[in-house]
Symmetry: C2
Subunit: 444 residues, 2 copies
């Protein structure tokens, strides 16, 4: 412990870590998300944290962000694991997993995956380099029923409601509507328009209009039609509105029919929480139909809290089968860290224990241990105090750890057990075999 040997521990930017009381709430979030995903019959998959670089690079667009692994050795040039990289999302691993285990999966393959992902971003405020994503996807062979386009946002809606993150909006759009509409008004590069339209929330309609003119050479009439379309939002009825704005065509009709179906399926959800929003473009090339984007109503500038969409061919880089899919992803760490930072989440108790069993004396320690064992066998979470310390010290420990009940085994023969409710201060005689607590306080 000489002066020069101390390594001062400091947080590493972009790699979040929580105190136990906050971790307890995060754990509850993870449990709830998983429970909802499973309630809809999705199975759990985890993949290794690493993939071969050629797998990660198969879409060829994110090389800046990939962390590669190297072994730390006396001679750094001798590293031999440089062909491995940490996964930067859970979609590429899913595609590889489905291709690799194709013959052993039952389709439609419905899986959820809750794992950490890594992105080698430059350190900056609010950017995470390690974070947890909660993905849910369905992959099928050859064709994928439209019912899933409605089921996924329903599941995500249930998850977000359950997490009590405050008001949110799930926006839904359809790439076929955008592409069909653009083609219908004579635009030859609809994907180009989608890429530019994706910037609408960030740069506003005027700047988007300008870009459409300068970069793609659209006419003023075309620009106005594109911007009018992006203004459209609402329920299933927007389908008619868009049909009136546009000039028909098979692709537009198909998209409108799909969008209408999804919106009608979700019509039972609370008003305004799911909207057809024609401004959602999702810049990524691989989306081909329904696209999703969720936002917090009270923090529109915070950006997307979940997103996803339908892709025609998930695993085409890895297998010669046609595997359409649809998926959504919740950016857990991003939302959670925001609610911690703004004080919405303050943390649970410092111990998961429901009961702290007091040790009256060394002689009576066996009785304390037996009492704890009885309570545990009945499913309670129980700490036994670790020594026959002065009562005051034991009480202080229980109160600092915010354990809701203190249990006093008999201090003398012939006396009964007593239990104290720390919230109410009430202390009563109790039997460890039959005792039932009042309701636990909820944790946030």
């Amino acid at each position: 412990m000489a002066e020069d040997r101390i390594v001062k521990p400091v947080a590493i930017s972009g790699f979040p870590e929580w105190l136990p009381q906050v971790r307890l709430v995060e754990q509850q979030w993870l449990d709830r998300i998983r429970a909802t995903y499973e309630r809809y019959g999705f199975c759990s998959v985890e993949t290794p944290s690493v993939e071969a670089l050629e797998v990660l690079m198969s879409k060829g667009e994110t090389s800046q962000e990939v962390y590669t692994l190297n072994r730390l050795q006396a001679d750094p040039a001798a590293g031999s694991d440089a062909r491995l990289g940490l996964h930067f999302d859970l979609t590429v691993p899913l595609a590889r997993y489905v291709a690799q285990h194709f013959n052993e999966l039952v389709f439609p393959f419905k899986r959820y995956q809750i794992q950490r992902v890594w992105r080698g971003e430059r350190p900056q405020e609010g950017r995470f380099r390690e974070f947890t994503q909660c993905d849910i996807d369905v992959i099928n062979l050859d064709s994928l029923p439209l019912s899933f386009d409605a089921e996924l946002p329903r599941i995500i809606h249930e998850v977000l409601t359950d997490l009590e993150i405050g008001g949110f909006t799930l926006g839904i759009n359809n790439r076929k509507v955008l592409q069909g509409f653009y083609e219908g008004i004579g635009i030859t590069d609809p994907i180009g328009v989608i890429r530019i339209a994706d910037k609408l929330a960030k740069i506003g309609p005027n700047a988007v209009g300008q870009l459409l003119g300068t970069e793609l050479g659209l006419t003023d009439t075309q620009i106005k039609a594109c911007l009018d379309l992006a203004q459209v939002s609402g329920g299933a009825e927007v389908v008619d509105e868009i049909a009136r704005l546009g000039s028909g065509g098979a692709l537009l009709d198909e998209g409108l029919s799909e969008l209408g179906f999804v919106m009608r399926e979700l019509a039972d959800l609370p008003a305004g929480s799911v909207v057809a929003d024609l401004s959602i473009a999702r810049g990524l090339d691989y989306y081909t139909g329904t696209v999703y984007e969720g936002t917090l109503n009270d923090a529109p500038g915070f950006g997307s809290i979940c997103s996803g969409g339908r892709y025609d061919d998930l695993a085409g880089s890895f297998i010669r089968r046609h595997l359409p899919g649809i998926g959504m992803s919740i950016g857990l760490t991003r939302i959670f860290a925001k609610l911690v930072a703004d004080g919405t989440i303050t943390g649970g108790p410092l111990s998961p224990a429901q009961v702290l069993v007091i040790v009256p004396s060394d002689d009576r320690r066996p009785e304390a241990l037996a009492t704890a064992a009885t309570l545990r066998s009945r499913g309670f979470k129980v700490e036994t105090y670790h020594a026959a310390d002065k009562l005051k010290k034991q009480l202080t420990y229980g109160s600092r750890k915010q354990i809701p009940y203190l249990w006093f085994p008999p201090f003398e023969n012939g006396k009964s057990h007593e239990v104290k409710n720390m919230a109410s201060g009430e202390q009563v005689a109790a039997d460890p075999q039959t005792w039932t607590p009042s309701t636990w306080r909820s944790v946030r």
Copy 2:
């Protein structure tokens, strides 16, 4: 999908991944381990997957195995995250965590941590480069009560029993006993003996005896005494046996008193499942008192399934406080992969769903969706079939996914719901509001 663009997906040696039915069992293991740790009031902590290299290297002994992170960039020389490495265990991160958050923790700090760790081993059969460890530790300020030396193996015993991995033995020893005993017979380098004695299970007593002579210059009498000590095993009574073998001394007495206490505390556990085993040395330098090592009774050659011990000063590299600790770690992936490989674990069903709701027709799809929603609101895990396909196709899907109940909403107005138990073949009328299944089959 041109020929040259296909990247054939293959498993990466040392990075395990499971099919959904096996992952389901792994998930249950993780749930059970966590539940037991929490039942004893330990809080959950997760740390980032990476630490600063100077933190990882603070013990200065494992540089060969550390994976460092580098960003994949056009110019590989420009990588700037090389000072970060993936953690290779959960003890170094715990030490750093406790030092960093020292003022915000309540001591004794009792935490569990279930996370992946990485070791840059050369790829070889049975060696994992990414695996999950399940650690449980207690850290206290200045001194740590001996009760924890007995509580930790009790918790681990409960976990391993609960996992039904077959017969196991938790061996317990005490470094003070070894060191005091060696010193008592005139050995000047007791730590050297511990390092060599640690090889006993691997190379046998003859080879160990030889090494003690050639490397440390022990006399034949000293070697015989060391090997005799390593033969000792049993319950609390071994304390007297060792006292007879050795030549006293304060350190030996202290160690025997500690070992005796721990063994007496655990005397209620099934005979033979916890033994004082004087052959356990645990080569690592930082253990100072109780040490643990668990093995499978039917696979002694498989080596350790869990291990741990007491260390006098956990975080001395990071903070100027005296923080003794004690911990145990279960090598989850190692045990789990073995039981998968030898066929003990064959996997659960392919879906977590308990019920598959059949869709009689497009017209009746809303009723199927409403039925599923009702069952889910009652806590059941439910898949709704994704389209109004032919009944046979729907039944095949349910049976391939091994979903235990099929639910038939009314096929005509006025008819009732019916539910079929796939195990018994029995099909009965049922009400989604009140139905209760027979017991679920257990999953292994």
